[in-house]
Symmetry: C2
Subunit: 191 residues, 2 copies
Amino acid sequence: MKRLEERIRKDGKVLPGDILKIDSFLNHQVDVKLMDEIGEEFYRLFQDKKPDKILTIESSGIAIASATSRCFGYVPIVYAKKTVAANMAKEVYEAKEHSYTRNIEYTVQVAREFLSEGERILILDDFLANGEAMNALISICDQAKAKVVGCGSVVCKTYQPGEQRIKDLGYDVEVLARVKHMDDEGNIEFE
Amino acid sequence: MKRLEERIRKDGKVLPGDILKIDSFLNHQVDVKLMDEIGEEFYRLFQDKKPDKILTIESSGIAIASATSRCFGYVPIVYAKKTVAANMAKEVYEAKEHSYTRNIEYTVQVAREFLSEGERILILDDFLANGEAMNALISICDQAKAKVVGCGSVVCKTYQPGEQRIKDLGYDVEVLARVKHMDDEGNIEFE
């Protein structure tokens, strides 16, 4: 997605530890017009999958999923909640996610009532690096016997294993901006 | 807002401890069409305030603020981040928020670069109960010397002090659904 790549090149910041910070338009301050364009692109890529729901994860997935829902005729979105405490409540599906950025293990939860057997689920998230968050969301869908019809990520670092891991599990993965290299001088290259 | 009140009456759940749970359409599963209607209503109420930005708080404010941004010609949204740890970073404005629902004190943070002196800020949130979250967002705007031009909440319990507290500080407060009474049988009455 050209406009997204241009924006990342212009406003993205490369921080020590191979971190790409795009919080001026995606995950702290949000450019909602860009989110709408992202939603249209995910719709173009996944329209034949006919999802019943979009599943994402708080907080940075919410604006993306909202914009995409609108393009899919307002299918409901569900955002998984992250908690550091692991309270094994009966009424939730849950999975672990290890965040490499923060070096924390999260428990990711979705209330059982919001995922049903046989539902067609489109999973969307902002970043796909090692695939931990995406994997947690897939696990939650499996527990609910819901069907994952596609996995979309706004940004992916192609030199990290996440995208291939999810594809190896047999899922259809689409990424809007594929970073193949970045360095401490702030240069960001796309595939 | 009639359609919102009907939805709360139909799908809201009253939990022990005077908690109104509306997570089937607002803060876990999200009805994006309803969010768009909420955005239009906030636009109607605040259009003469001409905000430069919308400030909200993760996670449940994000879908609301996104929908409202669109009506205001895509003004940027900024969502404050909540953290339990108080890391006094220099590059953020921060304020404390005590959550009565969870009995936790949060530190609410906004990166300094995303709020500027003189900017006209519309603050939006999902719930206004004791006004703790709204107060924290106002404090952050004050630190940035930004001008709060209005405060909007989707739901408010009118028997709790939040709304009056914020009005007493001199702010223009608008609420879309005003709960005046609810009980353990699940009855919810609006003003």
